[in-house]
């Protein structure tokens, strides 16, 4: 018998061990958060295991490889976190990245690097706008809406490119700088991720926009009654997601030297959602941080890199990635202390 007790008595937080020493440890825990502490411990563990097996892991070169490898999926994970905090989901980010990758290369070939990037971002925003409008005005569940556009945007990318890689950006200074350049020794790819992540962090943490995003995800009726225009926020966040997915698409083009309709971006949505969930974003909305997501992205990057170094078959790597998403959500559910009966809401 489900007993939803409404009289709010002392509904305590998930039981935190009180026996441990309070003081410093407790305070660190509060500032950093239990979620992030466990991620840091997981990272330390994985680094120790892989490092002990293969000395190559600790070389500067390999750290750069990890850093540049996580930049693209990291960008998508950051925006996905915002979407999830708002109580929605965007499965189409990978397809948008593919579409913008190929279109940036095509526009570049016709005009030049500047319009190539601007055009790609414009197309990404249009894709996001369409997602948002389907959800808001068509009253379609976000998962279904973006599942549909996942297929549709991929189709458009294949149509305009005839299914082949397009253009050649490998000789262009700007694209080369994006892919292999660096500022003060930090690769450009990582810088792009750092900038977008910081931007998202500041917006979520310190602005009224961020507060309202948490509010909409936490309780949409209350948000509406408090005067928040929910539709505007939904559409806005999807447009922003489209724009960042487009930046990811441009980076894919830069790294591979040509526009990739599918191959560079397929499966990125899975990685993005896994990272957000692992980083503590609640799939029911209202909860999550960029810091947590970034830690999760690093953990995933190290894992992938480590598995490759240790010679794990890439098919098994896919199995591992899927298992990790399940694990992340299971941990989340257990931590939320909800009853283990019936279908999760």
């Amino acid at each position: 018998m489900p007993t939803t007790q409404s009289t709010a008595t002392l509904r305590s937080q998930p039981p935190i061990e009180t026996g441990a020493r309070p003081g410093v440890f407790r305070r660190v825990l509060e500032v950093v958060g239990v979620q992030n502490i466990s991620l840091l411990m997981a990272i330390a563990l994985v680094v120790a295991v892989i490092g002990s097996q293969n000395a190559l892991f600790f070389t500067v070169g390999n750290l750069r490889v990890i850093g540049t490898a996580i930049a693209i999926s990291g960008l998508l994970a950051v925006v996905q976190t915002i979407v999830i905090i708002m109580g929605a989901l965007d499965i189409s980010v990978g397809s948008i990245a593919g579409l913008t990758s190929v279109s940036s290369a095509m526009i570049f070939t016709a005009t030049g690097p500047f319009l190539g990037v601007v055009g790609a971002v414009g197309i990404g925003m249009l894709c996001g706008l369409l997602n948002g409008c389907i959800i808001v005005f068509g009253r379609v569940n976000p998962v279904i809406a973006t599942l549909a556009t996942l297929a549709a945007y991929k189709g458009v990318a294949q149509l305009i490119s005839d299914g082949r890689a397009q253009g050649y950006t490998g000789a262009d200074g700007f694209f080369v700088f994006l892919a292999r350049g660096s500022i003060l020794g930090v690769p450009t790819l990582i810088l792009v991720l750092v900038i977008i992540a910081l931007l998202a962090h500041v917006v979520l943490r310190y602005t009224s926009i961020g507060r309202n995003i948490y509010a909409v995800g936490g309780n949409d009726i209350a948000s509406r009654l408090a005067g928040i225009n929910i539709n505007r926020y939904l559409i806005g966040v999807y447009v922003a997601t489209g724009a960042v997915a487009a930046i990811a698409g441009v980076l894919i083009t830069a790294r591979t030297g040509s526009g990739q309709p599918v191959s560079g971006s397929e499966g990125l949505e899975l990685e993005a959602i896994t990272a957000a969930a692992l980083g503590g974003a609640a799939l029911k909305g209202g909860k999550g941080t960029i810091a947590g997501t970034i830690l999760a992205v690093i953990l995933l990057g190290i894992l992938t890199n480590g598995m490759t170094l240790l010679g794990v078959n890439s098919f098994w790597q896919n199995v591992a990635k899927g298992a990790l998403l399940v694990l992340a959500v299971v941990i989340q559910q257990l931590r939320s202390g909800e009853r283990r009966i019936g279908l999760p809401g």
Binding site: M1, Q5, T9, S12, A226, G227, G286
Partner: protein
């Protein structure tokens, strides 16, 4: 008791009246550092109704959860019919013959009332279940307990009112023929007529030898129904009294440890200009509403459940559309497209369903207080953290919100304090009109009187206040004028000086004024 096809039900023979069926002694329970229950005791006897009283946060709900096995006590013993028991799961207590009727029952929305009754215990014939037999059985059970006019077996769960859901929950419990039943504030969502039916049922069960526990905030009910009263305060056992040997003041003193002689203190001020005026407002929920609220006035809206009161409030605050008629604020005709427009016009709104419609339970008190005026706390888009903190601190102090800090999650506060957080959110916007839908529902006596004081203070300061309440003494004590609604219409307007509960009830049940299509005729 009820005949069941299912084998699971444990038909326990009725014990002789007066036998202690359930006894809890020395119950202790802590959540982290918070001691929710300390040395609490409770006895429920066969054939008697024992009321459990106490302010919110006194530990009543925690105690009920321990009885059912939803929570495990840190110390103490539970005995059921003489044997010591230890439940780790609500199902175990259910099989042992103990049921708690939840305050907000869960109902399966897409199946009929009959299927809802016997969920988990539906009889089968081979692989099929016999729908006609099920409906007939539900019908006879409804008749047996006198609910046949209130609820039909074939109605879908999604079409049920809160009151009807409560009845479904009760019927579900009766299927198991329990020997102990606890009701957790069963009347908070019921209309007066349904309360009468419920009481008849409880008395019937009592006479059949069931031991009954009854949690309620309503004094009148307790005196009408109970044989004994157990009072908790701040998680401690205060005492058990025989109902006949105690009185209202006595109980209030036991519950709050202080006298509430000036429960309703209103200093009516001379009303100022008209703030809100409705001229013939009509939409799919309400019809031809004429109403006005002046500055410094507290105006009550009364009526039975389903009379359209909440819908009227949502129309005023821009959440429901006005189809025809006019809504004026300060003499200017308004057309609100969304609540944001109403907020801009100076309207604040505390809805009926505090948790579902007002609060961000996983966010801090500070966040919740600032929500409706974030823009004015921000420089461009950046929230000025210091100003926000100061605002929260100001209202925590002003409304006496009991919270360890402004960073506490609202979900961890008690009902009364949560309601104060909602009030704080709207007071922070400095509204000209404050609309309060059931501001004291599920709130304890102490917090109630504080909320009344806040309302009075607001009126003194010239705010126009519109209050919906199902509790007649509250509406009468609080309001300068009262509108009564029935079937989506206003059936009468009463002035403060000479209003009685009987007058309000007569107007609330004035079915002649009600449009038959609109009335959700429960009565």
């Amino acid at each position: 008791m009820v005949k069941t096809i299912a084998p699971a039900a444990s038909g326990i023979d009725p014990a002789p009246p007066g036998t202690v069926m359930l006894s809890a002694t020395g119950i202790e329970k802590s959540f982290g550092p918070v001691r929710a229950l300390q040395g609490v005791q409770l006895e429920l006897r066969a054939g008697e109704v024992t009321a459990l009283m106490g302010e919110n946060g006194a530990g009543k709900s925690t105690l009920l959860k321990i009885l059912t096995g939803d929570l495990q006590p840190d110390a103490g013993t539970l005995t059921l019919a003489g044997t010591e028991v230890r439940f780790t799961d609500p199902r175990q207590s259910r099989l042992a013959g103990l049921r708690v009727i939840a305050q907000e029952p869960e109902v399966l929305l897409h199946v009929s009332v009959a299927e809802n009754f016997y969920v988990g215990a539906i009889g089968r014939q081979g692989l099929m279940f016999n729908r006609a037999a099920l409906l007939a059985r539900a019908d006879s059970d409804l008749r047996r307990y006198g609910f046949e006019k209130v609820i039909r077996p074939e109605t879908l769960g999604s079409a049920l009112s809160p009151a009807q859901r409560q009845i479904v929950e009760i019927m579900r419990a009766l299927v198991d023929s329990p020997s102990v039943i606890c009701f957790d504030e069963p009347t908070s969502s019921l209309g007066d007529e349904e309360v009468v039916i419920l009481f008849t049922l409880i008395r019937q069960l009592r006479d059949e030898g069931v031991a009954i526990g009854y949690v309620s905030h309503r004094m009148q009910e307790i005196f009408e129904l109970s044989d004994n009263i157990t009072v908790l305060r701040d998680g401690k056992f205060v005492g058990t009294k025989t109902t006949a040997d105690t009185n209202h003041d006595d109980l209030v003193r036991m519950m709050v440890g202080r006298d509430l002689s000036q429960f309703f203190h209103r200093d009516p001020v001379l009303p100022g200009e008209t703030v809100l005026e409705l001229r013939g407002v009509t939409n799919s929920h309400v019809t031809d509403i004429h109403l006005e609220v002046k500055a410094g006035e507290v105006v009550g809206v009364s009526g039975l459940v389903g009379a359209g009161r909440s819908e009227l409030m949502k129309t005023i605050v821009g959440d429901l559309r006005v189809d025809s008629g006019e809504l004026l604020m300060g003499g200017t005709t308004m057309s609100f497209k969304a609540p944001a427009d109403a907020i801009a016009a100076g309207i604040g709104f505390a809805p009926e369903e505090r948790k579902a419609e007002a609060l961000l339970l996983k966010r801090s008190v500070r966040d919740n207080v600032a929500l409706a005026r974030l823009r004015s706390l921000s420089r461009w888009i950046f929230v000025r953290a210091a100003d926000e903190k100061a605002l929260a601190a100001e209202y925590i102090a002003r409304l006496g919100i009991r919270t360890p800090s402004s960073e506490q999650l609202v979900g961890n506060l008690s009902g009364g304090n949560q309601q104060k957080v909602v009030l704080a959110r709207w007071l922070a916007t400095h509204p000209r009109l404050l609309v309060l839908d059931e501001p004291t529902r599920g709130v304890d006596v102490g917090a109630k009187s504080e909320i009344y004081a806040i309302i009075d203070e607001l009126a003194q300061a010239g705010v126009a206040v519109l209050v919906v309440s199902s509790e007649l003494p509250e509406v009468i004590g609080l309001s300068d004028r009262i509108y009564v609604m029935a079937g989506g219409r206003i059936t009468g307007e009463l002035a403060r000086d000479h209003v009685t509960e009987e007058q309000i009830l007569a107007l609330a049940m004035d079915e002649s004024a009600a449009d038959p299509d609109l009335s959700t005729s429960l009565s």
